[in-house]
């Protein structure tokens, strides 16, 4: 009989403590709330309750971006990508480091290395990308990076890049230049051998 009453007593006390917890949370509505009202409040909201702020970011996983003028076509990012979502085609340049104005090719990168290749095609298929950030590390010119975060001065965070058509998610970073322009810019002029 005693055990019967003991279980009733234990039931009532534990249930009431549980109700006490929910009651306290009901009263303190805003205190522990972590939900982000998306369209109005956009991430990252600096003071979002664990108090880290925007410019302390180490890295951001958002959309990939390439400064094509700095790209020397070393194919390191293409090789390291686990899902091979980067495709690069390059053509050898006549003399290293020289600008070729008519195909808008800059010879020297911002790091000062002379370019030996013209990058004719640099496509990243963002539908395949697994955001693993492996391509950013080996790039000697640091020209491929995810927008926002430490390179915020170049780009602010952009994680709303959904498209209606899947092919629009294939980003083509190379300069839009017709093939034969590139061809005659990079091949030896046969008759004039100056």
């Amino acid at each position: 009989m005693f055990k019967y009453l003991a279980t009733i007593w234990e039931t009532v006390t534990t249930l009431l403590t549980g109700m006490g917890v929910t009651w306290r949370h009901m009263l303190a509505i805003r205190r522990d709330n972590v939900t982000l009202q998306y369209p109005e409040e956009r991430w990252p909201r600096p003071e979002r309750n664990i108090g880290f702020d925007h410019d302390k970011y180490n890295v951001i996983r958002s959309r990939l971006h390439v400064d094509i003028d700095d790209c020397i076509g070393c194919l390191k990012c293409e090789r390291v990508c686990p899902v091979n979502c980067i495709k690069i085609d390059t053509v050898k340049v006549l003399n290293r480091g020289a600008d070729i104005p008519n195909i808008r090719h800059k010879g020297i990168t911002s790091f000062g290395t002379k370019k030996a290749l013209v990058v004719t095609r640099f496509d990243i298929d963002m539908t395949e990308c697994c955001y693993c950030n492996l391509c950013v590390y080996p790039c000697p010119e640091e020209c491929i990076y995810m927008t926002g975060g430490p390179n915020a001065e170049k780009h602010d965070i952009d994680y709303e890049f959904s498209e209606y058509d899947r092919n629009d998610l294939i980003y083509r970073f190379a300069k839009k230049v017709s093939d034969e322009d590139v061809a005659n810019a990079t091949t030896e002029p046969q008759e004039v051998a100056d």
Binding site: V21, F52, Y57, P82, N133
Partner: protein
């Protein structure tokens, strides 16, 4: 229990079901409410992890290990990276070791929070799930602060870590720990000692130690049955032997040892132990040290094979890596703890009712990404 032999009914707790923690199908033969046999059917989430590893280089495998156990991907990376470093005999700087332990323990807390929350859901309590996800949200913010990602980090590389800690990281984690420790007591108030919860989980799905060992069960499920086996203590890897934390073991406070409640309570105690490890790691993390210093330029491990186990939140996560000297692994086999946990489901939930099967499945805390690989 199932002595009355009515006509059996085969019930499909199908791949699309609210409480199968992923894409798992249970063919349950029930006689009325009492379950007489369960055959789990897996493979719906098979993504050929091992075949992928053979076609990619060693550092490209790391994003795949993330996606096996997507709830504890830091620990998956950690397992793979520890195995590789032992194979290539790379000595990692002190600071990287501490960063890795901090990240692994934070991920263990986040994974256990998810396990406890969804277990509350399986048993019918909605609110604890949201409390635990609120706190898990804070840990994901910390991960986002360091490596940008919230779930699949690709943070630990062979020989180092992808990014150094940001400014003010240690204070942020201290803030989190100060905020989080009183919350664990709140979970106990609302769920652990709740009589209805106790009634639903005590003496349900009792897993005897011998059965557990023979079925290869590991982690909180094995410790719930009273076997004191934790790889961080028994086969210490990285710098775990420097931290003193004890391994909680199920004592059957409410029912017999090894029931669902014990497995649940062992996870709650493990969260507290992880906060202890975190505090010690944060106290003596070396302030300087380049995290990219020991990153090998060309990863070409010597010919040979290695089997290395680490303690993931779900149990012994083993990597069997065979290398033939080329930059691509010859064979990578991942021994998944949830795979063995699921195999014991049939053994311990025979003769119980349908709602107990859901409770037992929840207490085993399985993740289908890791089972199907």
């Amino acid at each position: 229990m199932g002595v009355v032999q009515g006509d059996q009914m085969v019930l499909n707790i199908g791949p699309q079901h609210p409480s199968t923690h992923g894409v798992l199908r249970l063919k349950v033969v029930t006689d009325g409410e009492i379950v007489s046999d369960i055959t789990p059917i897996i493979g719906y989430l098979h993504r050929c992890f091992e075949k992928h590893c053979e076609n990619s280089t060693y550092e490209q495998v790391i994003p795949y290990t993330d996606r096996c156990d997507y709830i504890a991907s830091m620990n998956n990376n950690f397992g793979y990276v520890v195995a590789m470093e032992e194979l290539m005999e790379i000595k990692v700087p002190e600071r990287v070791e501490y960063i890795r332990v901090i990240m692994a323990e934070l991920n263990r807390i986040a994974s256990h929070l998810l396990a406890l929350g969804t277990y509350g859901l399986d048993v019918g309590a909605f609110t604890p799930f949201l409390y635990m996800f609120r706190d898990r949200e804070r840990i994901l913010d910390i991960f986002e602060l360091t490596c940008g990602a919230r779930l699949l980090y690709n943070y630990m590389w062979i020989g180092g870590v992808s990014h150094d800690l940001p400014v003010g990281f240690v204070e942020t984690v201290y803030n989190f720990l100060d905020y989080f420790e009183p919350k664990v007591q709140e979970y106990n108030d609302i769920l652990t000692y709740n009589k209805i919860f106790v009634e639903r989980t005590a003496d349900v799905g009792v897993l005897l130690p011998e059965v557990a060992i023979s079925f290869g069960v590991s982690g909180p499920n094995l410790r719930g049955s009273g076997v004191k086996w934790d790889i961080r203590k028994d086969e210490p890897y990285s710098i775990y032997e420097r931290f003193d934390f004890d391994v909680p073991v199920g004592q059957g406070l409410v029912g017999t040892t090894g029931d669902c409640w014990d497995r649940f309570y062992v996870r709650v105690l493990e969260i507290i132990e992880s906060t202890k490890v975190l505090r010690q790691a944060l106290k003596d993390i070396p302030a300087t040290g380049d995290v990219h210093q020991a990153l090998p330029k060309k990863i070409r491990p010597p010919k040979g094979s290695i089997y290395r186990r680490t303690e993931s939140p779900r149990g012994d996560l083993g990597y069997y890596i065979i290398s033939d000297g080329s930059p691509q692994p010859y064979r990578v086999k991942m021994r998944s703890p949830a795979f063995t946990a699921l195999s014991v489901l049939n053994e311990i939930s025979r003769g119980w009712m349908l709602s107990d099967v859901i409770a037992v499945l929840g207490s085993l805390d399985i993740v289908l990404g890791e089972i199907d690989r």
